[in-house]
Symmetry: C2
Subunit: 478 residues, 2 copies
Amino acid sequence: MSKNDNRNFVEQIADIETDFPRWYTDVVIKTQLVDYGPVKGTMVIRPYGYAIWENIQKELDKRFKATGHQNAYFPLLIPMSFFTKEAEHVEGFAPEVAVVTHAGGEELTEPLAIRPTSETIFGNMYSKWIQSYRDLPVLINQWANVMRWEKTTRPFLRTSEFLWQEGHTAHATEDEAMEETMKMLDVYREFAENCLSIPVITGRKTEKEKFAGAVATFGMEAMMKDGKSLQAGTSHFLGQNFAKAFNIKFLDKDGAQKYVYTSSWGVSTRLIGALIMAHGDARGLVLPPAVAPYQAVIVPIAAKKGGVMEACAQLKAKLEEAGVRVLLDDTDNSPGWKFNEWEMRGVPVRIEVGPRDLEEGKIVLFRRDTCTKDFYPLANAVQEVETLLGTIQKDMLEAARVRRDSRIIDADDVDGILKGVESGNFVKAGWCGCRECEDKIKERTAATARVFAPENTHEKCAVCGKKALHTVFFARAY
Amino acid sequence: MSKNDNRNFVEQIADIETDFPRWYTDVVIKTQLVDYGPVKGTMVIRPYGYAIWENIQKELDKRFKATGHQNAYFPLLIPMSFFTKEAEHVEGFAPEVAVVTHAGGEELTEPLAIRPTSETIFGNMYSKWIQSYRDLPVLINQWANVMRWEKTTRPFLRTSEFLWQEGHTAHATEDEAMEETMKMLDVYREFAENCLSIPVITGRKTEKEKFAGAVATFGMEAMMKDGKSLQAGTSHFLGQNFAKAFNIKFLDKDGAQKYVYTSSWGVSTRLIGALIMAHGDARGLVLPPAVAPYQAVIVPIAAKKGGVMEACAQLKAKLEEAGVRVLLDDTDNSPGWKFNEWEMRGVPVRIEVGPRDLEEGKIVLFRRDTCTKDFYPLANAVQEVETLLGTIQKDMLEAARVRRDSRIIDADDVDGILKGVESGNFVKAGWCGCRECEDKIKERTAATARVFAPENTHEKCAVCGKKALHTVFFARAY
């Protein structure tokens, strides 16, 4: 986009109310978060999008390390034979694997998969590294690219290559591995709420929806503005499935050789898609301060008038010193153009500095989440901006929570589920636990079982009427 | 390695004087920096090795951002046809590319290369993003994995997959692109000296040694303890080669359509190999504090005696508060075992805390670089450790510089070059500039032209005796 383009930005973006999918595509492209790569289904994460990912990484990495994990890096290429060692795993992942058959000018003796996930290669190395109970637990995470060949792709939500982190841990006991699984799910939940301002519903997934090779998968689900659900992170209890497939054994204190228990957990650049669709509005992005590339943008008004640019530069220096990520937009564009641009790009706070206000020792702070503005004393600007950023972070979570909670309903039958999801709700309904009923709901409503509710509040299955084993959150999902 | 293993560590490592290659392999494996991956030529970077990479990333990333660069992420897979657009580039990289031919269960219509470097895909996107002089310069870096299928591999030094950063910039003028090329070379030099404590020789490379597709390549060369050179980073001035191949044009201020000028520059996990071989000794690793995973390790002596563990824990908390990366080794192993382990793993400072010294208000600080120790007052421990870390960082650079400078000699003929490199020197010699003479030196001495010296101090070419155009550093190289 040329910097002199004076079109109205809002008109460039499809209407969020009537064409949400198009609105999403317009927003991700026009705010320069991302572009399409030359190979179908790939994306280029542009600097503005990558800066969000860097902030997500920083926040999550801090939490992983505080819970005792270390980072490492495992190879991209995995022998195809590794996948066949765990029966469910190969069934789930083989169809979407990208395969290297030639390298260095020659055909390879064994084709190699580009990792779609790394349980198998971690398993292979853990079987070598783990010998004794003294070597346990092993708590390793990696930040990496992975590849899953998908038919239908959308930037951040589903692309053939994406960036993620994958934790892989090994433990002496089942309890410890389960504790780890739940601990990391909770790390994700806390991060989603406090950094992304996204309230999430966490819980166990059905057999149908679980990770291929897991004993149990726990997910966190976030409601997007169209009422659909986005799976924003998962944590898997793998039991001894991969330990047996890769022969990861240890000598326990009692002198016996035992298989370890493992877990794995991951979140990806999908989270950027979640941010966009959980908070965005008709004007474009609305970014929570904790992960916004710029937390504040300074826009000089009548920049050529005496003292304006000096005041802007001083304010910028002071904010940077206080650790605020701030941009001073000193381009030739008009203030109105800048207002539009940075609103579209979701900067949480805009600081307007004009000659008349300056004379009165005032500045204007505009908050993106509510699109409201007010005067503040210039002398106290840094503190006011910091306070406002904290307020926005909390208010965005609260607004998202109110929005979501108003759109969770209960249903007793399939018609109720259908009506509920058609009008953009998460629907809680009873389920007997059988695959047939789960499939029937999907067929009739296009909704899937997202996670089990913490308590079973329904007596009967919405499909067959038999005793409900679980109350399940049903929703249409990304 | 089992934690109760009481063997003498030093005996596990081959002798550095008589078998340097084996010493290297022993050190990287036994200190758990790295392990061999299941696919030939791949490596698993283990937590202890990856922590070094994280520190390298943090230091470099800070410098890239301070010089105006932003991070982004470009796709792993590049259409094979992209490589053929720049003639030299395809010749240099096609032979070592890994190729994806199948994905999602089907054969692809066009085979895809796993990136060996990303000039082509950056070029493709830049041609789309750059329209006007207002869009320039574009200053983007990415942290990524790349793959080059190599016949002979060694952990960190040459592996089929490695981690690196690659900066790709586009500029309106030749001068600006050249300025960028030299600026980033200098960023690398300053980083190598101040963070890795490695003195480097920087300079232009010959046509033969330059990057495939560059107009000119500038490298930094580091001397390893065996006198061989390791290319530790390169910065390329690409002229308009990639601009023309990918049609990256802009409308200049004068109204004319012009091709941009580009640069690219990179360093990789090779730097970890450089660290090991520039500083390591008979006992194992010697790590400079700026990038060491742990800067200090606390070893309790007679840990069960009253007050020792408490003092250790307090000291650890204080050091952490001061920002020192510190480990308290509270395992059951003997102090002697711990001394050996952490010396082998290269921790810059060991803090010994014993009951008798504690009574006298003292601790012992051992410095790994000189293998000397002394008493220090406990009351002042944090400051003493911080000062010592700074001293070690500087002394390691100075020691490496003295070592290297004593091993740079001049030669006037090929025999002189041969004798020089055989006894582990960098040899400065005159060169007429022709490929034949360069090839002859390589044939006869196994040394290659590393970089041009800043000044030409030789009158004649060491091979043909004609007028020397450059004085060149010749060395055997990794």
